[in-house]
Subunit: 379 residues, 2 copies
């Protein structure tokens, strides 16, 4: 069987990495046959690819003439849904870099286009390949933790200096990126937060600080409080202004507590359900017996390569996707809800009003006064 | 020099413990000469004290006739300010069990009475004797951590079962205790949160759940978000419904991060100020060098005995108080602000409106419909 013809559109940092994986033959069953990017990006491709790769600067030509069967989209955020929709219209399978988009309005359209195309649609949620989070998810989904009571993720280890933000004019602007730490750094955690627990919030009340640690207009510091349908509560804290950051995810359930920190998963396991203990115990002070367990976590964290391979296998062999593209909207909805809550200073309930969000985002873009030094393109 | 004559009023769990320390001669320079309590409590004193102790059931007689020089007040919360004011009026030094009171209106009056009496006024903030928090405070106050950016305290290890709440009719009612986990279990952490950092919030937005895990009318689960004058943010999470709980206090500053968890203090120390790094670094990705340091913590956690001794020494020798009584209002203001924010579903700014809080608390008391099984008195 000949290898599947894959194209990459957007040859910035991520696009280059994906193109190299394909060109080097690291993805079984797939090969790079076309790219689309700016002139300087094409130059880079010509200098660095070993295989025969068609190069396009025009995206219409890329989709119409390249004869690719599948495309990896690694362009700036705003263009994600539009390009994915174009690909699906051509019958091309899609693997989309995170985030799914900037606002849910057109991401919903993208999901519809994906569904009606019947093509394979994957999201580059490479942290889903991390065995730590896979194990956490497995334990929660199997009922080991019992009903969830509280979640807490402090993910402030996304440190960025001013020079990072200054490196490109479009960085950290409402117009260029459409958001800050939530949209650019923390989408993985926003995905894993709901993917591992199986819970989406019912409402959120959030507190975002814009340009708190940097000369930027988007948020670089966020605290969000959420409530779930079952009464559980949660807190999500993200920042690019703390060094050294923390990355600690705690999930409390009826049967104990799980904590991921320092690449380790610890399960504080009750020998009895807390709710049962509470109902039956008569001794006043006292609590259920608890065992501290270091959960062994095995397997490879295959990252981007793992996601590209899984997506290729889904197309070629029908393997189930680890990160279906349609799920990209979940993390984005949380991002949008957090922004909306911060902007309006009120609690936002699900479902999120996609039109209202789009409108408020346009206001932010129109009110922008940021003037940036000209910088090189780092992505 | 003869030992200072000390009385104890309120001979529940805590009062018994304090009376025993004095009676057993564990406090240098002080001795127990009088107690005041209910009939059954007096019975307990007669059966358990070895020294000569006058017993009173009437508080007026206790204050007027006992000739005590100093009193430890360990009665139910609501009575704290009133009894302290009576003691100061008689020229008696006071050590007050936490919390300072239930609402700040009369705690302010108590603080005024203390000041005009010139007597020594201490709070039973026994966790201030913990060398861990003393060391943390010392490091922060000395500037090791730099300007604080964020605080985060998850203190959910105050597990209580339904049988605990059922043990007394007044427990966990607005009328009987005036609050839940914040007022009864977490006052120590609310004190240490501001005592160690030296920061009081400027505003708070809080989310309290009432009787979430228990058949009670007060809160047993709270998440509070705060902002400080310098722009720092903070989160405080407390619950009596989680097993096993977490007790993790994280403080992030310009020069790194300190974490207290599992009775250990870890300092993640930057070799350079983050703000300086941010301003001068030109490399795009990158962050300041960080050293993980296990801070040695030495000294005795003398607890209640340490506080009683320090208060005795303050009266007898003029030793500075570790926990001045006037500082009790700080933790209580946070409690009141958190309740008010939750009740009104809005952000509450400092200074807290003491009259509004008092009024809203009366509403809660008047709306109470709780009917409790008759239980024994556990305090």
């Amino acid at each position: 069987m000949s290898a599947m013809k894959v194209g990459v559109i957007g040859i910035g940092n991520m696009g280059r990495s994906h193109a190299l994986q394909l060109d080097k033959g690291l993805i079984d069953g797939a090969t790079l046959t076309a790219v689309c990017g700016r002139k300087d990006q094409i130059e880079w491709v010509k200098n660095n690819m070993t295989g025969e790769v068609q190069c396009f600067e025009d995206e219409e030509a890329f989709f119409n003439e390249s004869r690719i069967e599948a495309v990896i989209i690694a362009t700036p955020h705003y263009s994600h849904p539009e390009l994915a929709i174009k690909a699906f219209a051509k019958g091309i399978n899609v693997l989309l870099e995170k985030p799914a988009g900037v606002y849910t309005k057109n991401v919903l359209e993208m999901n519809e286009a994906a569904a009606s195309s019947g093509k394979v649609f994957g999201m580059m949620y490479n942290q889903r390949t991390n065995p730590l989070y896979q194990k956490l998810r497995e334990l929660i989904q199997s009922g080991e933790l019992g009903e969830i009571k509280r979640t807490n993720w402090i993910v402030t280890d996304w440190y960025r200096s001013q020079s990072y933000y200054d490196s490109s004019r479009w960085r950290a602007t409402w117009k260029g990126e459409g958001g800050g730490v939530l949209l650019n750094q923390a989408p993985h955690q926003l995905d894993l937060w709901q993917w591992t627990t199986g819970l989406m919030p019912k409402r959120v009340h959030a507190f975002s600080r814009y340009g708190k640690y940097h000369d930027i207009e988007v948020e670089d510091d966020v605290t969000a409080y959420v409530e779930y349908e079952n009464g559980a509560t949660g807190v999500f804290i993200a920042s690019t202004g703390e060094a050294p950051g923390t990355n600690r995810f705690e999930i409390v359930g009826d049967r104990g507590k799980m904590v991921i920190e320092n690449e380790e998963l610890t399960f504080y396991r009750l020998t009895q359900s807390e709710r049962e203990f509470n109902a039956s115990y008569t001794g006043g002070f006292g609590e259920p017996e608890c065992w501290k367990i270091d959960i062994p976590v095995k397997g490879e964290n295959s990252g981007h390569r793992g996601i590209i391979q899984n997506w290729t296998d889904a197309i070629v062999k029908g393997t189930p996707l680890l990160a279906p593209g349609e799920e990209g909207i979940k993390g984005l909805e949380m991002t949008n809800a957090i922004y909306l809550s911060s902007w309006l200073n009120q609690t936002i309930e699900w479902p999120i009003d996609a039109d209202l969000y789009y409108e408020k985002l346009q206001e932010k873009i129109n009110q922008s006064t940021i003037e940036k030094k000209n910088g090189s393109n780092m992505t």
